[in-house]
Symmetry: C2
Subunit: 501 residues, 2 copies
């Protein structure tokens, strides 16, 4: 044993424990905390975050990491310890660029801004949050400036979520995807819309939750190492590899809202549950990027959960869970309903095909805001203009327009959206590899067997946690960089069949 390596692990485990404790405080706040607890809870979260930051920027930690770099060089490049040391070096160097004073100030401002957004959005009051958004944008620029020499002002913000990606790369990928997507959307929307009335009946909450749990467990989410609760917005959170929790919400008049959010969050959670236990408690024990994480939630939600084989297996169970409601609905009709493509106002409710157009609008707008080319007072109109031009619809208000997502109001402006579309692209790129290795996967899904796919994803992606940078992982698994071709093939195959394109 190397005593310096042991000390490094001890220090990193302490920091991770503080983050994991903070995550529980946040989970509790969103799932069941009584209203009276809010003020003190915010303070407690700030204290844990501050102590974690103090420990993360401790010069003694930096010295320790530097002392261990030769060891990392001497070990196999993909060994846990080499990856740990290299990752710690990256994290530490990054943390050194950002003054602790800024971290505390940003934490406070963002908490205030989030609160203002939560109050202003129901009232459709953009003017109320505008000053907060101005401050968030200013903070975002200030943060970016801590990393001089970036190609684009958004790059440091993008790097936090999707390490190694740059604005220019993403613009290139998105432009190519857009060129392919627009004709597909046009071709579909020139046809009469699919009939999804079967999804808009009355579905009792308890039955929805029971069916969602059954599906999540069947695809591989381990309830012995997790649980499912209700919260205003669905999310996944991890306190350890042995405790990864999901949440959902239920609309009794809309079957899809809860069901597909459960499968989506179970996808995120299976990624975290699948990390090698040799990494437990270390900073490598998490998904490697927003994009790769989203690739897994979308794999299970869309490539699996909205596929025909999946429902060949589950449709009888669904019928039994909601007696009478689907008696007159053939599987084919149900399948078309859950894959209905229709331009809509709200990203989180949008279908698999138009979803990426929503993301690209946000990505372009945040670059324009950061570059100073879009004044924030003009954001609502710029937003609406893009929805008119890209989706052919006009938001009736800001609540369902530029105020719909929490991201810019509860965080930095920049870096928060690209991962959603990178995830969609990667989901198909990974799935093509899985299908090359195991062509039997679709047939297995039709019989309720998901373990081959789950096992392949675990062995090739999940187990590694954050050992590899996202681009390294994509190379490792697929032999190439991120490519849109598999995703386009997937969409054309699937929707070509549904809409007889």
């Amino acid at each position: 044993m190397n005593p310096q390596l042991d000390e490094l692990k001890t220090r990193l485990r302490d920091i991770a424990a503080l983050h994991n404790a903070a995550a529980l405080l946040n989970w509790d706040q969103l799932t069941g905390m009584p209203p009276g607890g809010a003020e003190a809870r915010g303070f407690q979260q700030a204290v844990l975050a501050r102590i974690a930051t103090e420990k993360s920027v401790d010069p003694a930690l930096g010295k320790l990491i530097d002392d261990l770099l030769p060891l990392a060089e001497s070990l196999p490049a993909d060994s846990d310890d080499a990856c740990l040391i290299r990752g710690a070096k990256r994290d530490f160097d990054k943390s050194q660029n950002v003054p602790p004073e800024f971290v505390a100030r940003a934490f406070e401002q963002i908490a205030r801004s989030y609160q203002a957004w939560a109050e202003a959005r129901p009232n459709n009051d953009y003017a109320k949050v505008l000053p907060e958004l101005e401050r968030n944008l200013e903070l975002s620029r200030e943060y970016s400036a801590f990393f001089p020499g970036s190609d684009h002002i958004a790059d440091p913000l993008i790097d936090d979520a999707d390490s190694g990606m740059k604005a220019a790369d993403i613009q290139r990928v998105f432009a190519a995807l857009r060129a392919e997507l627009v004709p597909i959307v046009k071709a579909i929307t020139s046809q009469p819309p699919a009939d999804d009335a079967c999804l808009k009946q009355h579905f009792p909450t308890e039955a929805q939750l029971a069916f969602g749990k059954k599906v999540a467990a069947a695809i591989g989410y381990d309830f012995n190492r997790g649980r499912m609760d209700l919260s205003p917005h669905p999310f996944t959170t991890r306190f350890s590899i042995g405790d990864v929790r999901i949440t959902t919400r239920v609309r009794e008049d809309d079957l899809g809202d809860s069901l597909f959010s459960i499968i989506h969050e179970a996808g995120h959670a299976m990624y975290e549950q699948g990390i090698s236990t040799t990494l437990e408690g270390l900073p490598l024990a998490s998904g490697t990027s927003a994009g790769v994480h989203e690739s897994q939630s979308r794999t299970w939600e869309n490539l699996v959960g909205r596929s025909l084989p999946f429902w060949q297996h589950f449709y009888p169970d669904l019928k039994a869970a909601f007696p009478g409601l689907f008696d007159a609905v053939p599987l084919e009709t149900f399948y078309r309903a859950i894959n209905k493509v229709e331009p809509s106002l709200v990203r989180t409710d949008s279908d698999e095909v138009t979803y990426n157009l929503h993301v690209m609008i946000r990505f372009d707008l945040e670059l324009a805001m950061l570059e100073g080319k879009l004044a924030l007072r003009d954001l609502p109109e710029a937003w609406n203009e893009r929805y008119r031009s890209d989706l052919g619809i006009t938001p009736p208000d800001d609540r369902n327009g530029c105020m719909q997502d929490v991201h810019w109001f509860g965080g930095f402006v920049g870096g928060a959206f690209q991962g959603y579309t990178l995830g969609n692209i990667l989901s198909a790129q990974f799935m093509e590899k899985a299908l090359q290795a195991h062509p039997e996967i679709p047939d297995e899904m039709a019989t309720g067997k998901f373990s081959t796919l789950h096992g392949w994803l675990t062995n090739n992606l999940y187990t590694h946690g954050r050992k590899f940078l996202p681009n390294e992982l994509v190379q490792r698994v697929t032999g190439s960089d991120i490519q849109i071709a598999p995703y386009i093939r997937y969409l054309k195959n699937k929707y070509g069949a549904i809409y007889s394109l």
Copy 2:
């Protein structure tokens, strides 16, 4: 503003935030954590505890406190700031006696011992936990030795729970109480036992929980600043004055188990919810001692919740909550049933009168163990012997004998039990004062009004949190030291009437 005082508060708030976060981790573990989370959770709790300890023993904190002592002297003795500085001085001085190495070692040993007890108890395997209990006793002696000059080896342990109390004081109080109790128990048990069959029917869980919540809210537990969950053993925990939670468990064949535990925990929680918000986040924002805390849980559970006026109000509600089950049960029968006195094996199930005999057995035995007069291998027989002599019954096994309570196995041996009986004594002493000020309280309870009593307790006890030492508080509220006379008067009045003594 005094900048040193501000700094003191900042430091103490950070430490309290760590303790409060750790309390949430513990609550989650006991109420809903999936089994897979246990190992990492233990580590996270240890990290939070260690960081809190490091901050608590920081010499800079000690220097700050000492610098502020003249300020404390210059302020009114009962001002928040003077009490804060004096309390911080006491806590800091105490912490200086105990090496951090010991704290970490004790934390680990006690976690291991708890685990061993939890596994061994169902198997009735005292031999299995004996080595752990030996280590816990050794730790307890070691801890005591950090406080040289104590009159009795148990005094430092007692002081942690009931600050300012000593073994000799408690022995004196307990001897006097015992002399009064034994004849009362004898007089009651010479009569035929009360009929409590009405409490042993089938009571559905949901109806029990709903009725329990209704009662808790009616007596003054604020669900906007709390919540109730299920756990294996009922407890109360506080994350802030605005978030004080209770738990319960339910036996469908025993109405009293859940109902009176809910009222008991609500009593603890109302104490914590009633602390002045000027103390929020500071170490003064908690109950002042185990004994005073227990006085409030027992006030609400017994002096209120097992009183005739209380049930004059709630009995119709109970009948409605459990349709048919109490149709043939007159209020008088129900009242006798919930106040049935009968020597029994298990402390937590025992009645109000014999309860203190259980506590005294434990108190005497832990003193004997600490003094080295009782070898641990002889504990089961010593325990059983005392149950024979004091209660006239013999435990059939150690599971329901000396292994029944977690305290010695999940903590130090010493200081953990006296608070239960001190609480019973104090509950009557405080209540006499409340009744002197507001003789209308019993009549009000009979109409469902609890706010006069709740208000009096809040203003006289709860609001002060930990500003005053327990003895100071008792003096302040009652004008005297702890006295058994009110408690004896209470028991003789109540049980004299029920049993026509």
